[in-house]
Symmetry: C2
Amino acid sequence: MPSSPARHRRADARRSRAAILDAAVQILDARPDAGMETIAATAGVTRQTVYAHFPSREQLLLAVADRITEEVAAAIDATDPQAGPAADALLRLLDASAQTAHRYPALLQKISALPVSPQADHDRHSPITERIGQVIERGRQTGEFDDRLPLGWLVAATVKLAHSASEERQAGRMSSQEAEHALRTSVLRILGAAPEEDGSSRSR
Amino acid sequence: MPSSPARHRRADARRSRAAILDAAVQILDARPDAGMETIAATAGVTRQTVYAHFPSREQLLLAVADRITEEVAAAIDATDPQAGPAADALLRLLDASAQTAHRYPALLQKISALPVSPQADHDRHSPITERIGQVIERGRQTGEFDDRLPLGWLVAATVKLAHSASEERQAGRMSSQEAEHALRTSVLRILGAAPEEDGSSRSR
């Protein structure tokens, strides 16, 4: 298909959208209240272009949230979550998620305060929750995890505990190491898995 | 001490504040976007009086949140949380909290979307988290719960799981019964307690 002016415009629009989101992720984490103007300048576009893509600050923040979600999903995939014992895979997945999320502490705090409906919030996290669900489901099938509680609940509980660990850590109530240990132990307990110490020695 | 005009004014102010909060709890749960005027009318005060107590809608909603927190704390105290096995006491406490919170589904959803700092949110919930902490601490001392994870973490995890159960229930992803069962089972697993079936037969 020959390139057309319309296709060029669409490609340009995609590039400026990506540049704006890159700039927003960087700037808003360092300075959560930075203005659209600063973001535009860093992205090398006009303020008007920022508003053309994101009519409100809230819409920009939601797009930033989706972008961080994608980044977390990619970090999860890089841990090869379908390999090895499910308990180990889940712990790798949680570590990778936490490491990615902890790159943006101030930004995620800002995003979590956005007025989003619970259903929308649930849907926005589906790239992550689906991956967690796949690992837990695999562990149920191999008998590593017990299957008496509904899968959806176990996924929701795992996510909540991961958020709790991040909050305790960010508020300075627990060290990173304490929070990580508490999270791992608690998730494995809820899943009815062997204690972490034994996790790696379990066969598939 | 003889009554003075100033004391009268303070007593009047307390009464109108209470009337406004009563009205706000009722009205905002039925119609979360109801205006300050409707709340004033129901409370039998002027709009001006509402604004004198609560300069912004956000401040009114936070005061409503604190009031619901007090109501939950009173419901917890009514379950006599220091009596009997700690696991039973904790489950009674969670039931009472959920029953109280479920009276205000729409309002709590609105409140949870308020832009409040994590530390402020943590502090606002202290009447509830302190009570949960006391029961868990008692269970650790009697040996019902294991004490390898920090108390603060166990309290935070319990609260998160209770929120998760409410969300699953309110989103229609679980029935009340399923959510209650999943919550009880999960909390007792994290605490390292015996499964619920055996909970009531454990001695102190």
